[in-house]
Symmetry: C2
Subunit: 290 residues, 2 copies
């Protein structure tokens, strides 16, 4: 499972020990990817669990002087918190350390990192495509990233060593790493992730608004699977929708256009055209599943 | 697994031996619910499989004189085909036989059954909430209905014995049977089943329209589960959307209203309200999952 040539870190810092950060901590520990894990989490309710699960060798509320020991600093906090946490990292991070993250939206953080204050930090964005509708350190699990995709988003000023180190870090946990520019990443995930999430939330709300409480209980596996992502963290997803609104909102508009076209075919009893449109979707999905 | 008091039929007829009809046939055979299965399917490509899977003791393209032997006639064809198949059933069905179906939309068939031609047939609508995105006799499976809900939709003229017999038939296969009037059924399923299906189809189409082919490949488990139902049979779902359009289209409108409200909160950067709305959906779904 070990990517060839991966040198364990003396110390790694993980800021945010929820589902993603906690699962990284478990793999780092289990696979020996670092000799020491410095953990930071400002949610004190999580501290007991973080300690009992041994997710960190050192635990504090917020980045402090100890952070200077870390060769890799992993930001695994909600994307909206980046702007609050970066000023706390800046005075403490080692000039040789690499800073990376796990956020679902890449452009806003990159924008911050390009500002004068942060220009000397070695930064590379990352996004492991793994998760679940559960959250918090109790949801952390071994092997969460094994076989999953992880996208890293280098740009012009990213140094080659950072790319190599971060790539190998994720590969050591079994992830399939690919590179994409931050803008394309946000464009694509607006479509394949953020759009389905907003639709799932809206569908469940539309059903609860108009039907009795029993309605959901009468549904089958279809709606259960379809709406699983509507059980995800509202806080985290509100942040993602807001951070990536520039890319997401046009996708919602495009979706509504497709939906209107299906509605029109139904109203016109145009079965032939309706079957054609549904078949296009089925073909696209089936091809993807191959 | 046997519901107490269930009397096996001498003969049952199953019209349409796809996923649902074929799975009923398997359970009838395995559980000894009838001594003979008369099978009808106008798709000749299916006949080889129906025979090799022993889904019927007698197999023909369309309802014929043999049908008169059946004490229970189960229509498991797409809802849109009811109007073509009923005239073939009418001259052959025994006057004491019970006719039932498995369609996802209940009112249109009931309307037909209330017409003068069919008024002497003992009819009771049924809808097992079971299925998968796969279809055809090759998708048929044992125990498909075990632990699943099955709704039967009696109305004024339905005789009590028909209700009892059909209820026990599904209960013998392990289904949890409940009664609902056909109108309420169609109203509810427009919402918990037909709406999510149209959204899943539309979402996949919106993504394929605007993104490169790779886009879907980069997505995670979220979209996979969300869109599973978009791999369902286009023919069957076009029929359901068309048959239940009177109930479905207002649900699509209600959904679009909710979606617009989420869009508005995003545009206004109203995080507080956005989190509130998403949390409502999460709560509704989590309560349902308990």
């Amino acid at each position: 499972m070990y990517a060839s040539g991966f040198q364990p870190f003396e110390a790694i810092a993980i800021v945010g020990l929820g589902l993603i950060g906690g699962s990284v901590a478990k793999d780092v520990r289990r696979l020996g990817l670092a000799r020491k894990i410095l953990g930071y989490d400002n949610n004190e309710e999580y501290h007991k669990e973080i300690k009992s699960e041994k997710l960190a060798d050192y635990l504090s509320n917020m980045p402090d002087k100890k952070l200077a020991q870390a060769e890799l600093v992993l930001l695994a906090v909600p994307v909206k918190s980046f702007k609050d946490i970066l000023p706390l990292i800046l005075p403490n991070i080692s000039s040789t350390a690499i800073l990376t993250d796990t956020g679902s939206v890449k452009s806003p953080l990159l924008k911050m990192m390009c500002s004068h204050d942060y220009e000397n930090i070695r930064f590379l964005g990352g996004h492991p495509i793994a998760g679940s509708e559960n959250f918090g350190p109790s949801a952390a699990q071994n092997n969460l990233f094994f076989g999953k995709r992880c996208i890293i988003t280098p740009e012009e000023k990213t140094d080659k060593e950072s790319i190599l180190v971060v790539r190998r870090f994720w590969e050591s946990m079994g992830a399939k790493v690919s590179e994409m520019d931050p803008e394309s990443h946000d464009q694509m995930f607006a479509s394949v992730s953020h759009l389905p999430h907003i639709l799932a939330y809206a569908c469940i709300q539309a059903i609860s608004n108009t039907d009795s409480h029993e309605a959901l209980g009468h549904s089958g596996a279809g709606l259960k699977d379809f709406s699983r992502i509507a059980s995800s963290s509202p806080e985290m997803w509100a942040d993602i929708f807001l951070e990536n609104q520039e890319k997401l909102l046009p996708r919602v508009v495009a979706f509504k256009k497709v939906l209107s076209s299906l509605e029109e075919k139904i109203k016109n009893n145009d079965k032939k055209k309706l079957v054609e449109l549904l078949a296009l979707s089925k073909t696209a999905r089936d091809r993807w599943m191959l």
